[in-house]
């Protein structure tokens, strides 16, 4: 991604959000107890759902992206590559297959 895609100065962006957060916090403080209690319960319910969230990468199937491939995308973006090393990280079985292949030749 091009460098000029990113915000040159993000201060204004964060200042706007800081003010919005303060304003929301003030509003929350003044809420009646019943609403605060309901909100607290909602957050607790969200927490329980998140803690019970499944990790689909533990299953084999569509949409599974191994961590090593995610790392590969970072490498591609930001560092000069040693492709062999990166591919070996992404597919650690490659070396094993290569060894087996070589031993089968002998």
């Amino acid at each position: 991604m091009m460098d000029n895609y990113y915000l040159k100065d993000s201060k204004k962006f964060w200042d706007t959000r800081k003010k919005a957060r303060h304003s929301k916090d003030k509003k929350l403080i003044s809420l009646p107890f019943t609403e605060k209690a309901a909100m607290s319960e909602r957050i607790q319910a969200d927490y329980e759902l998140l803690r019970n969230a499944k990790d689909p990468s533990n299953q084999f199937g569509l949409g599974v992206i191994p961590d090593a491939i995610n790392e590969l995308s970072i490498e591609l973006l930001f560092t000069p590559l040693d492709f062999e090393e990166v591919l070996n990280n992404a597919f650690p079985f490659t070396q094993e297959l290569q060894d087996n292949l070589e031993s089968s030749k002998t």
Binding site: S10, F13, F33, S40, R42, A45, D46, R51, A53
Partner: protein
């Protein structure tokens, strides 16, 4: 005074009107469904849960009232279009927050910095109550908290770092932390180099 049975029920003896409000119903799956539909309809390209909800996913109970969503967008105009889309749809918009169901959602575009962009790319897939979603990985979450660096973020960084892949975190900081500021902050919080 002994209350009547229908006035006080169950745990903690909460009054009935509060008990009624406190039924544990989460809006989160509905909100995630909506975020997925934004991707399907091309309004956003991708997203990942960040902020307090990501902190909760990674195991720290944390009271947060809003959902921070990191989104991949083509440009600043696309960010404005996102607000227009919800304004036209009739959703409540308050300051920077767009209400989806009852949840105030704050969208944080990927063009803020490469850190945000990569946090989305590397996010892990999850399923919340059967709804597919993505959440930023703990190492990226720490890097994002190092950017905000409020007192509560420092506490969360200490807790989250116990489950983080520290070489991976250092790698992320080496690549994305130009001025070494985040690395210095990490050292400050964890108390070692």
């Amino acid at each position: 005074m002994v209350p009547e049975n229908n006035e006080q029920i169950g745990f903690g003896g909460l009054p009935a009107d509060i008990l009624h409000l406190s039924q544990r119903v989460s809006d989160l799956p509905t909100v995630l469904d909506e975020l997925n539909s934004l991707v399907t309809s091309g309004i956003i390209k991708d997203y990942a849960i960040g902020g307090g909800y990501a902190v909760m996913y990674h195991g720290i109970p944390y009271s947060t009232f809003d959902l921070d969503v990191l989104v991949v967008l083509g440009s600043e105009e696309d960010f404005q279009r996102l607000y227009t889309y919800y304004r036209n749809k009739g959703n409540k918009i308050e300051n920077v927050y767009i209400y989806i169901s009852t949840m105030p959602v704050q969208f944080l575009p990927n063009y803020i910095s490469p850190l945000f962009n990569n946090a989305i790319k590397a996010a892990q897939r999850i399923e919340v109550n059967g709804v597919p979603s993505k959440v930023v990985k703990v190492e990226y979450l720490i890097a994002l908290l190092l950017t905000a660096f409020r007192p509560k973020d420092k506490i969360h960084i200490i807790e989250l770092s116990k489950n983080a892949d520290m070489p991976m975190l250092n790698k992320i900081l080496r690549m994305l932390d130009d001025g070494q500021l985040l690395s210095e902050r990490l050292k400050e919080v964890l108390g070692h180099s």
